[in-house]
């Protein structure tokens, strides 16, 4: 499934990365906690999150996240979007849907969980 179809499916608004909507989405991961995202995400993945702080952009940059969906209608502030524009070449999408519903809709359409490490595997 392509990012474009994901946007339609979740009734999303594209904040950034209009030219990247043809990218294929192999896998996704849902979390608010950036600590979890940093510790558990293994492969390149679409991030579904309710966290809109600047740090989410840094984390996406470090991990090579392929796109971010912000759920529950929470929009990152302009300065956060500006940093993303400068640093990341990926789509940022906002949806009014909850994290559960967003994840469920994507799962139903065949997007799989990203490979991740389980906690406690130190």
């Amino acid at each position: 499934m392509k990012v474009k179809e994901v946007v339609e499916l979740i009734d999303g608004e594209v904040l950034l990365g209009d030219e990247k909507l043809n990218v294929e989405v192999p896998a996704a991961y849902s979390a608010d906690l950036l600590s979890d995202v940093l510790a558990l995400t293994e492969e390149d993945t679409l991030l579904i999150t309710g966290t809109v702080s600047l740090q989410v952009i840094r984390v996406a940059e470090i991990l090579g996240i392929i796109g971010i969906i912000f759920v529950r209608g929470k929009k990152p502030q302009d300065n956060v979007i500006q940093v993303a524009q400068k640093r990341l070449d990926i789509p940022l999408i906002v949806t009014k849907k909850t994290m559960f519903e967003t994840s469920g809709l994507l799962y139903q359409k065949g997007i799989r969980p990203c490979k991740n490490r389980s906690a406690r595997e130190v």
Binding site: Q55, V59, I62, V122
Partner: protein
């Protein structure tokens, strides 16, 4: 070993935390380190930097390189860690609410540093500071 980069880290400065990692990324790409290893180095270094920002007053990150490894050290002035074994446990955290609101403070950072590095040394003195040394094999 040759020192190739260093960065100052300010406590509480969550805005600039992570700026250094993007400079590191460019440098490692230039010298031909694989993207998989780069990701491990960046994740571990960012976690160590965040720990200074979240828990200490100020610090310095230094990056050293030789033929077969990359070493990143992060040294800070701050409260230190009383019980390092305990701090290494997944889930142990003394992070403030401010830190948690930004999405951190799950007590995952130090275990994540350990997982992403090939060798990890932590030295700490209470009320003085902490030194974290991470080694990454690149050959």
């Amino acid at each position: 070993m040759e020192k190739i980069l260093d960065f100052k880290i300010k406590g509480r400065d969550f805005i600039n935390a992570g700026e250094s990692t993007s400079k590191m990324k460019n440098y490692f790409k230039k010298i031909g380190i694989s993207s998989k290893i780069i990701k491990r180095i960046l994740v571990a270094s960012y976690e160590a930097e965040l720990n200074v920002v979240a828990h200490a007053d100020s610090g310095v990150m230094e990056i050293f390189v030789d033929e077969d490894k990359i070493v990143v050290t992060v040294e800070d002035e701050g409260p230190g860690i009383e019980d390092i074994d305990r701090a290494m446990q997944e889930g142990f955290s003394t992070a403030s609410d401010e830190v948690r609101e930004m999405g951190f403070g799950a007590g995952m950072g130090l275990p994540n540093i350990k997982r992403n590095s090939d060798d990890l040394e932590i030295e700490s003195e209470v009320n003085k500071g902490t030194r974290v040394k991470m080694v990454f094999n690149v050959s």
